[in-house]
């Protein structure tokens, strides 16, 4: 049985751990609210954008001069996987589940004989993928200095990706990120961004989207202008979604940790009290037997 002083030290160390995890949970909760607000704010833009792109894409579909970003390069030999993870750990299975999904796809694509290239966003995913697939890395985007994700960050990533596309470095690009469902549930998701796929507006669903628009300048020039923006918009939406998921995951992970620490403290306290009582009983027995001996 450990002695009293050791037990006491352990209790106080677990207590301070609990304080830290509790604080991290509260910080994550505050950040989560902010991340959710940011995601909420960006939704009107993304929705309108996709509606317009849907209408546009449908009207130039099949045209031989349609932009390559929409139709693709005509091959799907080289895949670029953009794996978006967090810059920091201590957020439960958040990073691992994204990496796991990406890793599954990497193995599948390689088994099919495709070439795979990886662009990582966020340090944690890079660390996890490095061991098995480090030779496939083509770049890394570091967001550790970014406090609040802005559209400019997404634009920079998009620019990098589009530059590689123009240089024919890949045929298909897919982003990996986590969709925020609730604090306890985030779903790792893969979304193809190049070639872009926009759903044509459904007939009668939205009267505005079904209108015949005039285009100024013409459809194809607008599309050529908008498609690169579309890539940035999708990356931005994914970054925001990821940020909310990360904070949600961290919040529930830290909640668990706080609860575990509490249980551990209770257990240790009981053990501590028992040993103290044993010591007292021992002393009493000694005193009594000493008195009887007289």
């Amino acid at each position: 049985m450990p002695n009293l002083k050791d037990l006491k030290n352990r209790i106080s160390s677990v207590k301070s751990t609990r304080k830290i995890t509790k604080a991290m949970q509260m910080v994550a909760a505050a950040k989560l609210r902010r991340a959710q607000d940011a995601a909420e704010m960006s939704r009107p833009y993304t929705e309108r954008f996709n509606a317009v792109m849907g209408a546009l894409a449908a009207s130039v579909a099949g045209s031989p001069t349609a932009p390559r970003l929409l139709t693709g390069t005509g091959s799907d030999k080289v895949h670029l996987l953009i794996v978006m993870t967090a810059e920091r750990g201590l957020c439960g299975g958040f990073n691992s589940s994204i990496v796991k999904k990406a890793r599954g796809d990497i193995e599948r694509l390689r088994a099919e004989g495709k070439d795979v290239k990886i662009l990582t966003v966020g340090k944690k995913g890079r660390e996890q993928l490095k061991r098995d697939h480090g030779d496939l890395f083509v770049g890394h985007v570091d967001l550790s200095d970014v406090k609040k994700i802005g559209y400019a960050d997404a634009q920079n990533i998009a620019k990098d990706v589009l530059g590689r596309f123009d240089a024919d470095e890949f045929d298909v690009a897919t982003i990996y990120y986590s969709v925020f469902q609730s604090v306890i549930s985030q779903t790792p998701t893969a979304q193809q961004i190049i070639p872009a796929s926009y759903d044509a507006p459904e007939e009668g669903e939205d009267a505005g989207a079904a209108t015949d628009y005039d285009y100024e300048p013409d459809e194809e020039r607008i599309l050529a202008d908008l498609l690169p923006r579309g890539v940035a918009t999708q990356i931005f939406a994914a970054l925001l979604e990821n940020a909310a998921s990360e904070q949600g995951a961290r919040m529930s992970a830290m909640d668990n940790a706080t609860r575990n620490a509490g249980e551990m403290i209770d257990k240790l306290t009981i053990e501590y009290n028992r040993s103290r009582q044993a010591v007292i009983t021992n002393e009493l027995i000694e005193i009594i037997s000493g008195a009887e001996a007289l």
Partner: protein, 144 residues
């Protein structure tokens, strides 16, 4: 015909304005246009310029750097970056011009013998510079 129409100005980061307006002046890529209620449906891309919305409470001006406008039953402007006129100061403006300038030089270096993209970037830069004059700031002179 309705006297007002719904106008939304949204950027990726937030919704800047959502109100009933009597007319909106939009800096379109092929020229400025003013849209009133009942305008034919148009989708146009934007060049850097001033966007003015006449709301019931008065007119509101925004500096936009690009994006596109969808004119249907109402008007939706999706601006990549939009700054209310009142928030626009010399420093913000210069930062925008510098960004356009940098983009221009990058394009110029990357594509040597194709005038297309370079001209477009130069136009963007000139538009950006012109914006300064419109809003009463010192137009910053870039190096071409």
């Amino acid at each position: 015909m309705a006297d007002t129409m719904q106008f939304d100005l949204v950027s990726p980061e937030r919704r800047l304005l959502s109100a009933g307006v009597t007319s909106v002046a939009i800096p379109g890529m092929d020229g400025d246009m003013t849209v009133g209620p009942g305008h034919a449906p148009v989708i146009t891309t934007l060049r850097p310029g001033i966007l003015r919305a006449e709301t019931e409470k008065g007119s509101e001006e925004f500096v936009v750097t690009g994006g596109f406008a969808e004119i249907g039953a109402g008007v939706t402007v999706l601006a990549e970056k939009a700054v209310p006129h009142a928030d626009m100061d010399q420093a913000t403006y210069e930062a925008l011009v510098e960004e356009a300038e940098r983009a221009y030089h990058e394009v110029k270096q990357a594509t040597e013998n194709e005038p297309g993209p370079v001209d477009e970037a130069a136009k963007l830069l000139q538009d950006m510079v012109a914006v300064g004059g419109h809003i009463g700031l010192d137009p910053k002179q870039p190096n071409f």
